[in-house]
Amino acid sequence: MRWLLLLAALAAAGPRIAAAQPRMPPQAVAQPRSGTQDMSRELQAMQADDSANPGMLWVQEGEALFHRAEGRVQKACADCHASLTGVAARYPAWDDRSAAPMDLAGRIQHCRTEHQQATPLAREGEPLLALSAFVAGQSRGLPLAPPEDSRLAPALARGEALFRQRRGQLNLSCAQCHEDRAGLRLGSALIPEGHANGYPQYRLEWQALGSLQRRLRNCMVGVRATAPAFGAAEYVEIELYLARRGAGLAVEAPAVRP
């Protein structure tokens, strides 16, 4: 709870801090900096070592699920998809059927209900996280490459607007911390630029793997805003903007973060 109080203090002191600190230009994230670079050496080693990175437990689980026949048609993911290298780096992407942007978990869900004719998995449930981790892990090391798709433009613009919109009782926007104050500290914690190149990620605070939506929800609850339900379009729009904002960063999924 202490960090919440600190956050409250930061919000209260907001105008003064803004006066004392020279504001960086809006395009401060010209060369995105991955959160990994600001972690302790021990955590970096934990992320890099597949036998110490707890996220690999979910990758292993996801691989098993990927090869398991499911649903009414009794088909496994692996029956259609041989390799998904680089796929996660291109999500969220446009989905023709729903005429909306779709993130990776949404795509897995879609494949499951449409092609396997199986019951949908719970968002943020272990099986969907495991499958996401297995698919995202196949893009490790590849640069985030959001699709150049004009149909995504309106959602992308909404995503950026959401990123810059002040929200919650503390009246803070994502940009106020992760752009204007990236690299400074919130209490003892370093404020990262908030890039989405390591999801799903293992957070030591969660002691579990979690999706980008869970992370977004975390921040929204932190500024005492109402967080939408998992899977909401609002999250996907922010994800879309974050992918654009961090384009070029190497995918680190499953990343480890404090």
């Binding site: 036998s51 110490a52 707890p54 437990l57 030591l204």
Partner: protein, 106 residues
Amino acid sequence: MARVLLNLPRSAAKGAVIEIRTLIMHPMESGFRPGMNGTILARDIITRFTCEYDGEVVFQAELSSAIAANPFISFTTVATASGTLSFTWEGDNDFRQTETRSLTVT
């Protein structure tokens, strides 16, 4: 069956010190935390980890409530002879899982 990551060499020179690293998926529910409805969640932790080398215990650890989920245990042993290493995690709610790996000593 909980997912397990085991990292150890497949072969080693006789007398060499080998490092073994283990990671297991487990919630390690401490028994002190309230759940969503305010009642205390029952303790569910791994209480003991044992490594046997050809039936002989070479490493053992007792785990307690303060240990985080998905415990990572790293230790070393001396490669004496070719044989089987078995790793056993035991805990609350009759949790018990054993994994084995063979080691060739040259």
